[in-house]
């Protein structure tokens, strides 16, 4: 190779005029340079992997480590520093990863989550009732993010973890700061410390009085038997709380907007509600809201598609790019809610770190989108799309706000 151009940062800008598209640079990279170099904020560089097959190869190979303390791990503001304390199981490798993840896998298994469906439906209907009563629908519209998209996942994960929902303003604010690409590092560190303090106090309270919830069970079954420390329980709380929030919330917002702008598809889903499951898979593929990774560091020299990645080199996997790879998804830039292989998407990642909460996310999306279509068939954006604040400044893509009327 004879390329001496300095690597540019990870692409984030959507194609002009299309707020739903993945960063525009990915399409060209997949064709001309599927494994390329990007620069990182700390001045180092990492490999950027943009093809679907290579993404699955990297994420499916445990020689690519998720451990942020391994030298060369491509850190971002979102992943924080390489601290060994409170890093959560997603930043560990087997066998530690397997041990920690299995402590909570049953909480998110399909039948447990399916059993929650009526409760998720009830929460959704109540929030929709409140939306119907909301003032300001005519002038300026009701913000769907605050009225529905954020409260549903927030209420559900708070309920599951045993976090008082009354505290949601606090942890939603802190989560927002943690996931922002644009806040200064010291502000993000302060938010991280504040969230840690909050969860530290919460876990301490639960140690005295563990409830029938995920944190309570971790304390009784794992902490009291010496399998987990207090800090590790707090790390579980941080991970599940953050992961359970912004991801689903932004998928709800973007998906609702997409369906409002595509009345034919919305009508099809209203006529045939059974299509909603496939539609959710396609929306996950189409939106691919994780814009900052996943990230890995090679622990051995590994060849990927004829390309040597050396031990100690970082890798950033471009999920939105893999999900628009034409070699897997025909006419990939088109939303097709009946696409037969939509569930092959890598929106939840791939490999042993694939999203633990995916069954919950699916049910939340199916319930919320199905309910919105049924209850608010005339819903539409209250402002032109150019005025909707899209989250190009965040690690998780979506809308900061989505004013709607009906």
């Amino acid at each position: 190779m004879t390329m001496f151009t300095a690597p540019a940062p990870l692409p984030v800008e959507p194609p002009s005029g299309c707020p739903f598209g993945p960063p525009a640079a990915f399409a060209a990279l997949r064709t001309t340079q599927p494994i390329s170099k990007i620069s990182l904020p700390d001045g180092s560089w990492a490999w950027l992997v943009t093809r679907y097959a290579d993404i699955r190869t990297v994420l499916g190979d445990t020689r690519f480590s998720s451990d942020t303390t391994v030298h060369g791990y491509p850190l971002s503001g979102m992943t924080g520093g390489p601290s060994t304390r409170n890093r959560g199981f997603i930043r560990t490798d087997p066998p530690e990863h397997t041990r920690l993840r299995r402590m909570v896998t049953r909480e998110f298994m399909v039948k447990r989550v399916e059993a929650l469906r009526p409760e998720i439906q009830r929460i959704t209907e109540e929030l929709c009732d409140a939306m119907e009563r909301a003032e300001g629908r005519a002038e300026g519209g009701v913000d769907l993010v605050q009225a529905l998209a954020l409260p549903v996942p927030s209420l559900v994960i708070s309920l599951l973890l045993g976090v008082p929902y009354d505290d949601h303003d606090l942890f939603q604010g802190l989560t927002g700061t943690l996931l922002s690409r644009t806040v200064p590092d010291d502000e993000r560190e302060a938010a991280r410390a504040e969230l840690r303090d909050y969860l530290d106090r919460l876990v301490t309270a639960k140690e005295a009085d563990p409830g029938d919830d995920i944190l309570g069970r971790l304390i009784v079954e794992q902490q009291r038997t010496g399998e987990l420390t207090h800090d590790q329980v707090a790390a579980f709380a941080a991970l599940l709380l953050i992961a359970g929030h912004e991801t689903t919330a932004n998928m709800i917002g973007l998906s609702a907007l997409t369906l409002m702008r595509d009345p034919a598809t919305a009508e099809k889903l209203r006529q045939e509600p059974a299509l909603i499951r496939g539609a959710v898979e396609e929306l996950l593929r189409f939106h691919s809201i994780i814009r900052n990774g996943p990230r890995r560091v090679a622990t051995a020299d590994v060849e990927v598609d004829g390309h040597l990645i050396r031990a100690g080199e970082g890798v950033v996997v471009a999920v939105p790019s893999g999900n628009r790879d034409e070699s897997v998804f025909a006419d990939a830039d088109r939303l097709d809610v009946c696409r037969p292989n939509a569930q092959h998407h890598v929106a939840f990642g791939y490999g042993i770190h694939q999203c633990l909460g995916q069954a919950l996310a699916r049910v939340e999306l199916q319930v919320v989108l199905g309910t919105l279509l049924r209850r608010f068939p005339a819903m539409r954006p209250a402002v032109p799309v150019e005025e909707i604040p899209f989250r190009t400044d965040m690690s998780i893509y979506g809308c900061h706000a989505l004013p709607v009327t009906w």
């Binding site: 299995r102 896998t105 049953r106 298994m109 399909v110 569930q343 042993i352 694939q354 633990l356």
Partner: protein, 64 residues
Amino acid sequence: MKITLDADKCCAAGQCVLIAPEVFDQRDEDGVVVLLDAAPPAAQHDAVREAAAICPAAVIEVHA
């Protein structure tokens, strides 16, 4: 069709259960995959192949 599993590697993503619920289930204690039918009828073959193709930990092996 004959199915074998490497359950030790399972990360309990649960997609196999969604795709082929008559062939796969999850263990109550930890969500790890359970094989309900190691030699499913032809009507299940497509779903099983699909489950094997998207299993994130490549746990499901399908033998002709």
